[in-house]
């Protein structure tokens, strides 16, 4: 028994609604990315305490490193490099805190269910998360560089601004692409992944060659350059913005840029496959995508 007034051509009409043109799909993907980025960009500035965590803590962290370097009588050039590295580190911290655990949080809050059942792809959601995180962090990184330069009179000499911009962009893009992979890994592996999170944070700063040239880390340095986007990005930025330290670079800038580009592509592909995997696995086993109730 169906309700009165159901149109005769109902099924044809419904079918036509499911037919999306390429431009419709592209517009939808773009809107979805912006939609998901929005809460990260605008939500963050709403809690006064967040602003405190975003500005005061990272600045303090940077200051402590600078004071340490000064007490050791380090070259002023290293102070400039440290400030740059701190700025880059804010992005990495946000990858660990705001990307890696994010899908698990989305699952537990019920959002994942809504994302999966909506016509939006997980890829758009992940990209929105990344773009929102990166834009939010850019503000924080800017404050660090500005504050550091004013406080400590750090000097930079940028001969190739385009190359520097490209380095930063590629480095950040590769980090967030890795972040999406981590989000998928953390969702699948559950609690065990928490330890991985700890592992990735502190020791990686050292391994990442942020506060020590990667070169001094020998084989580990090479390894870090090979896996973590942070290492080649920091090394290249140092060479590009602080010419006195150009000689401390592990590899020539173009090579490091190439490494970052490869990392970005590889991590993006891995993200793509891991997102497809979690959706497939989630629909098969019934646990990954919905809240346990």
């Amino acid at each position: 028994m169906s309700a009165a007034g159901v149109p005769k051509d109902l099924h044809a009409r419904i079918y036509a609604e499911t037919e999306w043109s390429l431009s419709h799909k592209l517009r939808h993907a773009a809107q979805s990315v912006v939609g998901r980025a929005y809460p990260r960009i605008f939500g963050m500035s709403r809690e006064p305490s967040w602003l405190f965590f975003d500005l005061v803590f990272p600045t303090l962290g940077m200051c402590s490193f600078v004071f340490l370097l000064r007490s050791r009588g380090a070259d002023e050039a290293w102070i400039s490099a440290t400030i740059l590295a701190s700025a880059l580190l804010t992005f990495w911290t946000s990858v660990i805190w705001m990307m890696a655990g994010q899908f698990r949080w989305e699952r537990d809050s019920g959002n994942m269910t809504l994302y999966i059942t909506a016509p939006v792809g997980l890829g758009s959601i992940a990209l929105g998360m990344a773009v929102g995180g990166a834009v939010g962090m850019a503000f924080r990184a800017g404050i660090i560089i500005l504050g550091g330069s004013l406080l400590f009179g750090a000097q930079y000499e940028i001969r190739e601004p385009l190359l520097l911009a490209l380095t930063m962009l590629l480095g950040i893009a590769a980090m967030y692409a890795l972040g999406v992979c981590l989000a998928a890994v953390f969702l699948v592996s559950g609690r065990e992944a928490d330890h991985l999170g700890d592992l990735l944070n502190e020791p990686m700063q050292l391994l990442g060659g942020l506060f020590a040239p990667v070169r001094s880390l020998g084989i580990f340095g090479l390894l870090a350059i090979g896996i973590l986007p942070l290492a080649p990005a920091a090394d290249a930025m140092r060479q590009l913005a602080v010419p006195q330290l150009a000689a401390s670079g592990l590899l020539p800038v173009p090579v490091e840029l190439g490494i970052l580009a490869v990392m970005f592509v590889v991590f993006s592909l891995l993200s793509h496959f891991s997102l497809a995997f979690i959706e497939r696995r989630g629909r098969a086993d019934g646990k990954l995508l919905t809240r346990a109730d």
């Binding site: 169906s2 159901v6 079918y15 939808h28 709403r46 909506a118």
Partner: protein, 347 residues
């Protein structure tokens, strides 16, 4: 993969032989056994069953969240496994007790965010967001942060979200859980209005509340242990426990001219008994009433009985139809009541 246009005769929901087995620690759990179900376009269909019956599992399969272990299912002719992307463009889902979204967004921003995910152009999305805020009467909280909303307000927002893409197929998994009487009423009202706006919009609802199922659903399936025990309109289901219709007819006193025997002879009458002869109204005040319990083969037979009583000079005081409740149907089929405390919620 090429998909041909579905046949015009396709149901809104077609489930055939769907089974679902979960691998759990203590072995495997069969949540659904070989389910067959057909829901027509425009229906509001209810799944009623105790905890663990498999209601949510079926909704998850139909809403593309979960794959069936066996069998197949389609929404308006679109297969939920093969045509997943298409199915997602015409459906939406509300689950009870959901705390989805982002606490730092305002109610309006949250709806706007979801509108982007549903694929309509930005301006159209914002138009619908504001229309839903209006329709749900939540203009007072539109600029309030999600984290500051009550359960009822959040759930209204959740419903508003689910209407944004104007879904042809709406899945509601215990949507009024935790809502107070008036919020639950508002939400049910909106669901009915939503269906009335556009014939063909179909709703599949699961609930623990008998009264809600009875009041809202065109048809109901009673589910337990992964099987459909019975399905039909609420009236049909009630007929299963009580075949005849029962009327209670109250008269001042039974005239001597009419005997119960004569009434029993009338066409369509199954039985007539005096239920109580002494009772006045419920409080024992007013003049005495004699109540007859009259079982009929069909409602229409009542006319003959009333005429016979009137012709004999009886003064009619009251007529009421006595119906079994869905609760009784449920207890008879399932062998136990639905989670007791939950079913008390008034309408």
């Amino acid at each position: 993969m090429a998909i041909s246009t579905p046949a015009a005769s396709a149901a809104a929901v077609e489930v055939s032989g769907v089974g679902r087995v979960f691998q759990a620690k203590g072995g495997s759990v069969t949540a659904l056994h070989n389910i067959d179900l057909r829901i027509e376009p425009g229906e509001l269909f209810g799944l009623l069953g105790p905890n663990g019956a498999g209601k949510s599992t079926l909704i998850k399969i139909l809403s593309t969240l979960l794959l069936p272990s066996s069998g197949s299912a389609s929404i308006f002719g679109l297969d939920v496994v093969r045509d997943t992307a298409r199915v997602r463009r015409i459906m939406n889902l509300v689950a009870g007790g959901d705390f989805s979204g982002y606490g730092l967004l305002t109610a309006r921003e949250q709806l706007a965010m979801f509108a982007q995910f549903y694929g309509m152009p930005y301006a159209e999305g914002m138009r619908r967001v504001d229309a839903q805020i209006e329709a749900f009467g939540i203009t007072d909280i539109r600029d309030r942060k999600i984290s500051a909303l009550s359960t009822g307000q959040r759930q209204k927002l959740n419903f508003a979200r689910s209407f944004l893409n104007e879904p042809w197929m709406l899945f509601l998994d215990e949507p009024t859980i935790g809502l107070d009487v008036s919020a639950a009423r508002d939400v049910r009202e909106r669901v009915r209005a939503f269906q009335a706006e556009q014939p063909g919009r179909t709703v599949l609802l699961t609930t623990h509340y008998m009264a809600e199922a009875d009041e809202m659903c065109d048809r109901i399936a009673i589910v337990d242990h992964g099987r459909i025990l019975a399905q039909g309109t609420p009236t049909e289901l009630k007929r299963m426990v009580q075949k005849e219709t029962l009327f209670i007819v109250g008269v001042d006193e039974l005239p001597a001219a009419v005997s119960l025997g004569t009434l029993r002879e009338l066409p369509g009458v199954i039985s007539v008994v005096v239920r109580d002869a002494d009772g006045a109204d419920g409080n024992g005040v007013g003049s005495p009433v004699t109540r007859l319990a009259i079982a009929l083969r069909e409602d229409a037979a009542l006319g003959g009985v009333i005429s016979a009583l009137a012709a004999a000079g009886a003064h009619l005081r009251e007529i009421s139809k006595s119906e079994p409740t869905l609760e009784e149907v449920f207890v008879q089929l399932v062998g136990r009541g639905i989670s007791e405390s939950d079913s008390e919620q008034a309408l």
